[in-house]
């Protein structure tokens, strides 16, 4: 009887030990102690699974270690993607000129970790040129917005609620990869107010203004992460 009890106790202890040894729990990270001797530090302490000792990692090491499967298109991919979705040739003189200006400012690799504001400024600059050529070329713009009358003006209700929705949704369909209905609905909601802001103080009887506003909205949809992320 005693032997059986001892046997049970030993088995239970071993099971307990195994559970402790093989658990993959994440321990609570220690709170930062601003009064510690390392207080003015850029390093941080992260406990790793199964370790009780705190391992110090720097910001650089943390970012380097993080695995990411989403990427950002590089300069060449952005050039060709924008060409493909707008129908504007990347060999167009205006596109070539702007691309030559911004090529070194666009992302030069696919690592999304190094994406910065300066990259986005360059992306937007290139997108604006694509939208300029697209909207100024009747044969191209009719492919994206076949049912929008570019002869309308602000006074002629060019940007009615229905037209706004149409302009946005058509651009999304052309520029983004398989947008969902929910995405389209959210985007219409987000971008529609932009028309009012872009129309502010502009001449109400000018078709140049109409085209300018469409170019602005086109640039927003073409420069977004939906186009530039991999």
């Amino acid at each position: 009887m005693n032997k059986i009890k001892i046997y049970k106790i030993v088995v239970l202890l071993l099971l307990g030990l195994m559970m402790f040894a093989f658990n993959n729990c994440i321990q609570k990270a220690p709170s930062y102690n601003s009064t510690s001797s390392r207080s003015p530090s850029s390093s941080i302490s992260i406990p790793t699974p199964g370790e009780t000792e705190v391992v110090s990692k720097t910001e650089a090491e943390i970012l380097q270690a993080i695995q990411v499967s989403t990427g950002i298109k590089n300069f060449e991919q952005i050039l060709h993607t924008m060409s493909e979705v707008t129908g504007v040739s990347s060999q167009n003189a205006g596109i070539k000129s702007i691309y030559a200006q911004v090529q070194t400012s666009l992302p030069n690799e696919n690592d999304v970790k190094v994406f910065m504001a300066s990259h986005q400024v360059a992306v937007t600059k290139l997108a604006a040129e694509y939208c300029q050529v697209l909207v100024e070329t009747a044969a191209l713009r009719v492919i994206i917005w076949p049912n929008f009358n570019f002869g309308l003006t602000i006074a002629g209700n060019a940007f009615s609620a229905a037209n706004r929705e149409y302009l946005i949704e058509s651009a999304i369909d052309a520029f983004w990869i398989v947008p969902t209905d929910e995405e389209k609905m959210q985007t219409v909601e987000q971008v529609s107010p932009l028309f009012d802001e872009l129309m502010a103080a502009e001449a109400t009887g000018s078709t140049t203004v109409t085209r300018g506003i469409v170019k602005g909205v086109c640039t927003v949809i073409l420069s977004s992460a939906q186009v530039t992320l991999l």
Partner: protein, 496 residues
């Protein structure tokens, strides 16, 4: 079915938590893991800003003001040129003036031995050979009052020849020491992780401040210019451009939120959002004209040939960004230093050009009444044989005939508008050369390790600001002891 699959996947991905675990939201996660990132500097980096627990918009704000630390420009002479002997004087264990018996493999014939009259120049504090191509280049574009406010150090360190694998570039660590730019942090002439040819120590590389490539004035202007976009409108152009950029950020944020954590972890997601968020701030806060060296009346007289000289355009653009504190650290690669071409003239010409780059940066700093630290390194080195190049450009010196990483050095020059920077003693040499003209690899721990060299350079930069006690927070393990010890002073010679 889809929901069940998602739930199953989620259960696999979700770790088990201890009781009382508080990681419930993104903010909790960030604050748990990254709160300690708030650096001792005035301006934290993007990631640390993101993790400070403040509202999103505030976290991504660009720098309204920056610290007063000395701007830094790093000159990466790719190919492995000469620094020791023929340019910066080097000697034995006693320092720069503890002359070797023979400098022939370092390119100097006996009649140019540094012990001979008139062969040394001490105007920059750091001792140069008086006929140094680099020194002649510096002097050709600076005035005496600028040079009188300069001092420097030389490190004698072996490095590998003709490769970008030397982890020698201290740009990230110097940034971590506290210097900040208002617009971006590191700018480089190359699209590499270091901004130049040679690498930065891998442990120092921080993707959130990866170098922005600047190859000329247009790249600088591009940082804040959206010319075409403005032409779409006749009225309120700038506010409409800014509004468009904010709309792009809004749409992009929605997209990023829809990407799973597995594909794009939260920390990186926040960094990317910040890139979108900062773009309109950048456009609003800075004007293209302010960043354009061609429009800066202090730049144009010093870089007078920008229209025809791409080297001047590149250096002027980076120097202006750094000295005006738009950027914290600039890295300039200058190619053509693999000049063991069987003559001396090519090397002298390249050294002179490098000197002019250094000199122009110094002179621009003087014109802008700001300090600057210029750090110069190369990948490997060259060795000479005892054949004279008696052409005018060869200047009667020995010809460079082969690579020699055993004859490599790097040096730092610091210009301070208020006068020469202070040194702890008169010995400006770290490490030393053997009698045969090669680096004594056992002299110091920097002698045979470019990573330790980068640590020593960073430590000297911090010492210039009295930040010796904070060095370990920046470079991690400090292999040369603690401040104010004898060992420390072998590696850290500058002081506040």
């Amino acid at each position: 079915m889809k929901n069940e699959k998602d739930k199953k996947e989620q259960s696999v991905l979700t770790p088990m938590y201890h009781e009382g675990h508080t990681l419930k939201t993104r903010r909790d996660f960030l604050s748990q893991g990254f709160l300690g990132l708030s650096a001792f500097t005035l301006a934290p980096t993007a990631l640390s800003m993101l993790t400070s627990g403040k509202a999103y918009g505030a976290e991504c704000a660009i720098q309204a003001s920056v610290s007063g630390m000395i701007p830094v420009i790093i000159l990466d002479l790719s190919g492995g040129g000469n620094i020791p002997g023929s340019n910066v004087m080097v000697g034995g264990a006693g320092g720069q003036l503890d002359f070797l018996a023979d400098y022939s493999t370092l390119g100097l014939p006996p009649e140019m031995h540094p012990s001979r009259p008139g062969m040394l120049d001490t105007e920059l504090g750091l001792v140069f050979h008086s006929d140094s191509g680099m020194l002649r280049g510096i002097k050709s574009v600076t005035n005496a009052s600028t040079r009188s406010n300069v001092d420097g150090l030389v490190w004698n360190t072996v490095s590998s020849d003709d490769t970008n694998n030397n982890e020698i570039n201290p740009a990230y660590w110097i940034h971590k020491a506290g210097i900040r730019g208002r617009l971006n942090q590191i700018v480089g002439s190359e699209g590499s992780d270091s901004g130049g040819n040679s690498r930065a120590p891998s442990v120092s590389v921080n993707p959130s401040i990866a170098p922005v490539r600047i190859s000329g004035p247009q790249d600088a202007v591009n940082l804040v210019s959206l010319e075409r976009l403005g032409t779409f409108f006749a009225q309120n152009k700038s506010s409409k451009v800014e509004r468009i950029l904010r709309s792009i950020a809004g749409l992009s944020q929605s997209k990023l939120e829809s990407i799973s954590r597995r594909s794009l972890p939260e920390e990186i997601k926040e960094l990317v959002k910040c890139g979108f968020q900062q773009a309109p701030d950048q456009i609003r806060a800075f004007s293209p004209a302010a960043l354009d060296p061609r429009l800066d009346p202090l730049v144009t007289p010093i870089f007078a040939d920008m229209a025809n000289n791409s080297d001047q355009r590149r250096v002027a653009s980076i120097a202006k960004l750094v000295l005006d504190r738009y950027s914290a650290v600039g890295v300039i690669e200058k190619g053509g230093f693999d000049y063991h071409t069987g003559n001396r003239s090519e090397g002298e010409r390249r050294d002179f050009e490098a000197g002019q780059v250094i000199g122009r940066i110094m002179q621009l700093a003087a014109a802008k009444q700001t300090d600057v630290m210029i750090y110069v390194f190369t990948d490997g080195g060259v060795a000479a044989t005892k054949t004279l190049d008696n052409t005018v450009e060869g200047r009667g010196k020995y010809i460079w005939t082969g690579d020699s990483g055993q004859r490599s050095s790097s040096f730092m020059l610091v210009y301070k508008a208020s006068g020469k920077p202070a040194l702890v003693n008169a010995n400006r040499q770290i490490g030393y050369f053997k009698a045969n003209g090669s680096v004594e690899t056992s002299a110091l721990i920097t002698s045979n390790s470019v990573v330790n060299l980068a640590k020593s350079v960073t430590s000297n930069y911090m010492a210039l600001h009295g930040l010796d006690e904070k060095v370990s927070d920046v470079i991690g393990e400090v292999p040369f002891g603690t401040p104010d010890t004898v060992e420390w002073k072998k590696y850290v010679r500058f002081t506040k």
